[in-house]
Each structure stands twice: as structure tokens, then as C-alpha cells.
């Protein structure tokens, strides 16, 4: 099939950047979205042009590297998937697809569609450590945890830190990401010792890095490839009030 691509091109962090239109023929419905971009780049290289820079790593939806803003939403039109899991079969022949980098002050563009998401690393670092010995895997039943709690912690723990929540939020807020980390550890006994300190420092760091504030719109939950729930944000709010007032 033949598609038209409107892709954001930006040479460097300080370049103004602009949208460039590409007509791409011979796209197969079996291609993934990233394979389609590889195909485009192959053509660009052969024509002597600069290929479109984009991030990707595992290409199986678990590393969180590949987020793109496709047709007005993170990771394109299919719910609950990463950009690398998006298949070209969801598009029709003759479609125009707009591809933009994730936009946020805390995610500055490095080149084309690649953004610097090291602010997420800083957030994780600010959360510190848990003072529990690691080493060999412990006996699973030595610390009994209710099934419901374990499931909630797991549901928060599957966050891959891709930044889709920030990209989707009209305020570029990182609350869903931070809350997933906070609530995962706050739910489990291993995370209790540093729970108060963790939530305080992570919120402070989140504000310092220039993310926006949550207005409980729910776009993050709607667009999260791992479908992390807004419940985690409420849980983080509770943890924060406990840590600050308690």
C-alpha cells in the first residue's frame, strides 16, 4: 500500500525543526510500524538523504524505548500496546500518518523523533533503595502477601517507563509513572522502611524536573501501553499525605 508520512525532522536539540512529508510506496500490511520506518530509512539512505532518527530496542513491547506520537496519540491508534507492537495493518492505503516525538519540557528532543528521557532515570534514582538483602530468591511463602495486594503491586510493577503517560497528558505530568513506582513498593512489605522518604523525594524531584501537574483527566491511563491504573495516583496521594502529615 501507499502511505503519506508527516514526520518531525530536527537536526539537533537547538535546531528549530519542521515537519517533512514523505510519500512511501510498497508498504506491506505485515510490517510493524518500526519496520515501516526502517523501510523508509533504507530508501532515504539509498537516495543519499539523512535517515529519520528514532529510538527502539527490544521491539517486543517490554523495554519502553520506542515511544512515538502517532496520529495524535502515543503509540498510535491501538490501545494497550507500545509503538513497536503497532502493526501497519491498522492503516489503510492512502492514509496520511503524522509522526511526532513525545513533547514535554522534561523530554527535550535530541534529534528527529528521539527525546531525552533521562528525567525518568533521575526520578527513579531519587526514589533511592530498599534496605532488604537481595541475593538468592527467597522462599515465596516466607512473607505471605494477600493475592489482591500482590496483583495490585504487579499491575503497578509492569510499568516500562516509556513516557507515554507524559506524552498523552495535556499537562505533561509524570504522575502515573511516579505513582506506579511509589505504589508498587508501598504495597509490599519490602518497600515499607523507606516508604515515607521515597514518596517525598520522588515528588520533590518530579516537580524540580519540570513535569506538569495532574488534573485527573485520565489520558495517561487511557494511553498507557501497560494500562497502569489511575488508582495508583490516588494511592500515591495517600502515601504523600501520610508521609508529610504523619
Amino acid at each position: 500500500m501507499k502511505i503519506t508520512l508527516d514526520i518531525w525532522r530536527q537536526k539537533s536539540p537547538n535546531d528549530k525543526g519542521k515537519f517533512v512529508r514523505y510519500e512511501l510506496d510498497g508498504v506491506s500490511k505485515e510490517m510493524t510500524f518500526l519496520e515501516m520506518l526502517d523501510y523508509l530509512n533504507d530508501k532515504l539512505i539509498k537516495a543519499g538523504d539523512e535517515p529519520v532518527a528514532f529510538d527502539s530496542d527490544c521491539r517486543e513491547g517490554i523495554c519502553g524505548t520506542c515511544g512515538l506520537f502517532i496520529n495524535g496519540r502515543p503509540n498510535g491508534p491501538v490501545k494497550g500496546i507500545t509503538t513497536c507492537q503497532l502493526n501497519m495493518s491498522v492503516f489503510k492505503d492512502g492514509d496520511t500518518i503524522t509522526v511526532e516525538p513525545f513533547r514535554a519540557k522534561a523530554f527535550p528532543v535530541i534529534k528527529d523523533l528521539i527525546v531525552d528521557r533521562s528525567s525518568f532515570d533521575k526520578l527513579i534514582q531519587s526514589g533511592g533503595f530498599i534496605s532488604v538483602n537481595t541475593g538468592a530468591a527467597p522462599e515465596a511463602n516466607s512473607i505471605p502477601i494477600k493475592k489482591e495486594i500482590a496483583e495490585r503491586a504487579f499491575d503497578a510493577g509492569i510499568c516500562i517507563g516509556c513516557g507515554s503517560c507524559v506524552a498523552a497528558c495535556k499537562n505533561a505530568s509524570a504522575m502515573l509513572f511516579v505513582s506506579a513506582k511509589i505504589s508498587q513498593l508501598a504495597l509490599l512489605p519490602q518497600g515499607q522502611t523507606e516508604a515515607k522518604e521515597r514518596v517525598r523525594t520522588m515528588i520533590r524531584e518530579m516537580d524540580r524536573l519540570g513535569f506538569g501537574n495532574c488534573t485527573n483527566t485520565g489520558a495517561c491511563e487511557a494511553e498507557c501501553p501497560k494500562e497502569i491504573s489511575l488508582w495508583n495516583i490516588a494511592k500515591m496521594n495517600r502515601e504523600y499525605y501520610k508521609a508529610t502529615l504523619g
Binding site: N71, R73, R103, G212, N216, T217, E221, K235, Y241, T244
Partner: protein, 228 residues
């Protein structure tokens, strides 16, 4: 006056530590907003007395609301709450705009809460209406604007006999309904109250509240204009 150490300590922590972060600002904003939500119910129940034929009933209620010392304290808290809600709202909104310096070219409206996208604007319109409202009533009582503050019943009936005023009134309450539609459930999420049992109930109450309360207010000029 001597306050227990616990209250002073709480206040110190609240202002010193809590106020610094975005979450604290959100909490204060939600608390102030929820207080305003509760106040609207009191206000509506008094306004409904306007539908009665006896001006004395309403005027007595209005006099009670402006004379009784406990209500006077409540009034200070109310105005404070309103100002805090507005200041916090604007501050947070500016931070939000700064957080995304470059807009997207194309946006799919995936947000699950439609009215949440326009809170600053619906809030702004409600504020403009509030100013008109203050000009009509509250400022009269304070002596800033001329009028008979012993006969708010007559003043209200006079205002509601102008279609132009009624249209502004109805539009303002429609916009307030939009604002409340998101505000009600959002406040509970900010308080940290979100679970499988409560949240659907809160959302339903919020929708009912955001329809019935503005409708109740809007009904009064409608009845006065067409049936009195």
C-alpha cells in the same frame, strides 16, 4: 489565644512542608473546591426561598446569613477558600503550560474526562459571573454599591425580570455545571479516595450533583420570569 500544640504543629507542617510541592497545592485546591461544592448546596436551599410569595422568609434567611457571627466566620473561610482555589488553579495551570513548550501538531481526543480539559476556562467564566453576582448583592451589603440590603428578595426579583440578566445567569450555571462535572470526582481522586466500590458511586453522585444543582439555580429565574 492558646491553641493546642498539636494544631500548631499541624499548621506548621501543612504550610511549611506541604505547601511546597505540587501535590500539596492540589490538595489545598481540592479541599477549597470541595468546600465551595458544599456551600453551593446551602446557597441553593436559601435561593429556593425566592420562589415563595412571602419576601420576609427569604429576607430573614439572607439577614441571618449576613448577621449571625458563626456565618460571618464561615463567610471569611468561604472567601478565603475561593481565593485559594483560584490562586492555586492559576498557579498550577501556568506550570502545566510551561511543562509542554511545544504543542503537538495533531491530537486525538483520548481523554476520558472531557470537561477536565477546559477547567481553567470554565472556572474563569464562573469567576466573571461571580464578580457580577458580588456587584449585585455582596458589595451592596458591604456598602460599596448602592441598594437596599434589607430587601434582597426584591432585588433578586427585579434582576430576574430582565431577560438579558437571565441569559447571562443561565449560561453561567451551564458552564458551572461543566466545571463541577469534573471537579466533584477529581477532588476525591486528589484526596486519595479511589477504589472499585466507591469511585463509581462518587462519579455518579458527581454527575447528578453537577446537573441538579446548576439546574436548581437556573430554575429560579425561569419560574420568576415566566410565572410570577
Amino acid at each position: 489565644m492558646c491553641f493546642p500544640a498539636k494544631i500548631i504543629n499541624f499548621n506548621h507542617i501543612l504550610m511549611g512542608k506541604l505547601f511546597g510541592s505540587s501535590l500539596a497545592q492540589k490538595l489545598v485546591m481540592a479541599l477549597a473546591g470541595f468546600f465551595l461544592i458544599l456551600f453551593l448546596l446551602v446557597h441553593l436551599s436559601i435561593n429556593l426561598l425566592l420562589l415563595g410569595d412571602n419576601p420576609e422568609t427569604f429576607n430573614r434567611a439572607a439577614a441571618f446569613m449576613s448577621g449571625f457571627w458563626l456565618v460571618k466566620i464561615f463567610e471569611v473561610v468561604l472567601i478565603g477558600g475561593l481565593l485559594i482555589h483560584i490562586i492555586m488553579g492559576i498557579t498550577l495551570q501556568i506550570q502545566n503550560w510551561i511543562a509542554r513548550p511545544t504543542r503537538y501538531k495533531k491530537r486525538y481526543p483520548s481523554q476520558t474526562s472531557f470537561f477536565s480539559k477546559y477547567m481553567i476556562w470554565t472556572g474563569g467564566i464562573v469567576f466573571i459571573f461571580l464578580f457580577i453576582h458580588f456587584l449585585n448583592f455582596w458589595f451592596v451589603r458591604l456598602g460599596f454599591v448602592e441598594g437596599d440590603h434589607h430587601n434582597f428578595y426584591g432585588m433578586a426579583h427585579q434582576l430576574f425580570s430582565y431577560m438579558g440578566y437571565n441569559i447571562i445567569y443561565w449560561i453561567s450555571f451551564l458552564i458551572l455545571g461543566f466545571h463541577l462535572h469534573h471537579a466533584f470526582q477529581s477532588a476525591f481522586q486528589t484526596f486519595g479516595l479511589n477504589n472499585r466500590k466507591c469511585t463509581p458511586v462518587i462519579k455518579t453522585i458527581g454527575i447528578i450533583y453537577s446537573i441538579l444543582v446548576p439546574l436548581g439555580f437556573a430554575l429560579i429565574p425561569f419560574v420568576i420570569y415566566f410565572f410570577k
